[in-house]
Amino acid sequence: MRRLLTPTPVSLLDHHLELDQQVALRPEPFGALAYHYGNRKLIFLKHPDVVRVVQALADHDTLADTLRACDIDPARWPSFERALASLTESEMLHERHEVAPR
């Protein structure tokens, strides 16, 4: 069942996200495949930078911090926000409850 994304409060940039433990990433020439063993969803990460960001999420407090740490040009942040919102919608990413130590 396709679920509507719950309205993003303010911005995903302030969220503390992490890759779900049931998700495996497989590197591919275009980026990576992400597979969720729980809900059987297969998602294409269509850019190597998106893969880098997703893999780095756990090491940083918020998405904005991660993007900064990965040297992503702020002009590209909206497209990363959209890509990660869709990964959140498919439960590949979820909100982290405890915040990573700074």
């Binding site: 396709r2 591919e28 020439p29 495949l33 063993y37 059987r40 269509k46």
Partner: protein, 383 residues
């Protein structure tokens, strides 16, 4: 199709480091003899992969990070090591979806299956009543399938799948199939009939008519992501502006392949024929070598010629259709799909009728017993 999606499709066409969707027919043995069986199954092949060989393939798939495999047959549950291989695969992080006719799912097996993680089950059913189903799948097969579904439900398996091959005779039952799936808390999967295996002989009588193709297209559009299709109906995209959900490309040798029961690797489950055989898992280098280095797969990953379809405005939508469907009706691979919704298939089939159509290979159909006038039973092979 959005720009991002078509960009992705272009990249997928050049192939992946490992398949996304790998089908593994575990055995050619089957208790049924469906008239459209894509693998002409019936009898076990004595060269079948051993348990150890099968486990070695699973080890390789683990190393390649293949997330899940589709197991089929034949009837895979006939193999004595079926549960052993299932458990081994799952323990190596390779989820399994297996297709079965349900004959070997009793209450005990259903409970055992329900206790496993990362497992999907697909029960094949080709009619919502016994008459429609059994005409294709054999007498008693409807009751067998329903009994298996009851066992799975009673065991609390959760959302299994009901898998339907759409034919001329069951296309009017799509709503009923959906209702049946809903009543079991199951998910419906509908796929396209191909003239593969024994389907080479039954396809002409079973495949949907032109009017029915539109019916399928509209039904699929109305049901969207709630019904699985294995992306098999992309040839119908030429019927309208709105593409069906899915990637809408032929994945053969690019993101898809088949391992057959004796370890031969084919471009897709519907082309069990030497022309589409890429190698064997028994060759040096195993499956990975075949996937990465076979000449056939390299060719399939090259840009494909639109051939006879190049001047047709619908080519971008339908991609020229299904390679397997063309091959077994004798149409060149750069010709139109036999079920081309623009009506180019009939002429192409007529043109092809002058030549010998390629016959499916690896026929494991059970021998047909025929009584001679002297009433001496003899056994002949079925073509």
């Amino acid at each position: 199709m959005s720009a991002t999606k078509s960009h992705l499709v272009e990249q997928l066409k050049t192939g992946l480091d490992a398949p996304i969707c790998l089908t593994w027919e575990l055995t050619y043995a089957c208790n049924l003899e469906c008239v459209h069986c894509l693998s002409s199954s019936g009898r076990r092949d004595p060269r079948e992969l051993t348990t150890d060989e099968a486990k070695a393939v699973l080890d390789e798939l683990h190393d390649l990070q293949v997330f899940y495999i589709n197991i089929g047959g034949g009837e895979p549950m006939i193999r004595r090591d079926f549960f052993e291989l299932l458990e081994y695969s799952i323990s190596r992080g390779i989820g399994v979806k297996f297709s079965t006719n349900g004959a070997f799912i009793d209450a005990d097996k259903a409970r055992r299956l329900a206790a496993m993680d990362y497992l999907d089950i697909q029960i094949s059913l080709d009619g919502t009543d016994a008459v429609t189903n059994d005409a294709v799948r054999g007498e008693g097969s409807y009751d067998t399938a329903i009994r298996a579904m009851n066992h799975l439900r009673d065991a609390g398996f959760g959302e299994f799948k009901i898998s339907v091959v759409v034919t001329r005779h069951n296309v009017d039952q799509l709503d009923e199939f959906k209702a049946l799936a809903d009543s079991f808390g199951a998910q419906l999967r509908v796929t396209r009939l191909r003239p593969s295996g024994r389907g080479a002989d039954s396809w002409h009588d079973l495949h949907p008519t032109n009017a029915q193709q539109r019916q399928i297209y509209e039904w699929l559009l109305a049901h969207g992501d709630n019904v699985l299709t294995g992306d098999s109906f992309f040839h119908l995209n030429a019927l309208g502006e709105e593409p069906l959900p899915g990637l809408n490309m032929c994945g053969a040798g690019r993101v898809v392949c088949l391992i057959d029961p004796i370890g031969d690797v084919y471009a897709c489950p519907f082309v069990i024929h030497d022309e589409f055989k890429a190698g064997s898992v028994r060759d040096a280098g195993g499956f990975a070598h075949v996937w990465k280095h076979s000449e056939l797969f390299a060719e399939l990953r090259e840009p494909q010629s639109a051939g006879a379809c190049a001047s047709c405005g619908s080519y971008d939508a339908c991609q020229g259709g299904c390679m397997a469907a063309k091959f077994f009706v004798g149409i060149p691979l750069d010709g139109p799909d036999p079920e081309c919704v623009g009506g180019h298939g009939e002429a192409a089939m007529l043109a092809a009728s002058a030549i010998d159509r390629p016959r499916p290979m690896m026929d494991h159909s059970k021998p047909v017993r025929v009584a001679t006038p002297e009433r001496v039973p003899v056994t002949i092979g079925r073509r």
